[in-house]
Symmetry: C2
Subunit: 147 residues, 2 copies
């Protein structure tokens, strides 16, 4: 008698795969827009986080922009060369470095933001207002439940 082979879940039904696929696609679109300014998505994130004008340590920043430390250090090196951001030693804890956005960085950040907003609006149009906010809500809650 033939072994009753239970049909294996196709990969397209795994949450991990759906997230990877959606992320890849949305990221690709954003990348395309930001490439108008020649800036990778990660630099947009960095500039956006620093836009509050406060100093942020490297560790804090790495968490916020979803990059691990060595990668961030090297990306920041480039951004310092481009005078988009600058380092200041934290006076309260000299192990730390505080990152600040420069005036040039602020100007670029504004341009990037409007490109990113463009994309969000484009998604809203094709995907719908309701779906978008519901998806955001569910993603936030998934992230919460994973900590």
């Amino acid at each position: 008698m033939a072994k009753p082979t239970k049909a294996n879940t196709p990969i397209t039904e795994h949450l991990a795969y759906l997230l990877a696929q959606a992320n890849r696609e949305i990221n690709r679109q954003l990348e395309l827009r930001l490439s108008k300014e020649g800036v990778p998505v990660e630099q947009w994130r960095i500039l956006k986080v620093l836009s509050d004008g406060n100093g942020h340590s490297m560790g804090e920043l790495a968490d916020a922009v979803l990059l691990n430390h060595p990668t961030l250090t090297k990306m920041i090196d480039r951004m310092v060369s481009d005078t988009l951001v600058y380092r200041v030693q934290d006076p309260n804890d000299r192990r730390k470095v505080l990152m600040f956005i420069s005036d040039r960085g602020k100007v670029l950040s504004k341009k990037l933001n409007s490109l990113a907003v463009d994309q969000e609006e484009h998604i809203l149009e094709s995907y719908g207002d309701k779906s978008t906010s519901e998806l955001k809500r569910l993603l936030e809650s998934l992230i919460d439940s994973s900590n």
Copy 2:
């Protein structure tokens, strides 16, 4: 008079960011489980796709496992060395290569699948049955609307 500064959307409210964050977290968890067998997530995907026993061309496979062509070629090279998969020239179109899973690959694939299913169950527990299926539905629809 002070310039009326409209508060900038925080990065945590962008869909692109939420997707990246959720993907990173879920992927990290899956990676952790699969590391028990010393296999990266991408190889699990490849083995899973090839598990149907059919031959899949490199291009088809690259799309399915979310890898670009050169990266896939090099990963397949490693998997061929490990005798998990093998190449066959497509007799109908000699530009193409058909990939097949080996017996060893099938054995490994089964182990990996149960690790992946473990994870899905863990998510279901902490995140809830309803939320999970709703999230999957929304992700599928987002992906659809992006094509």
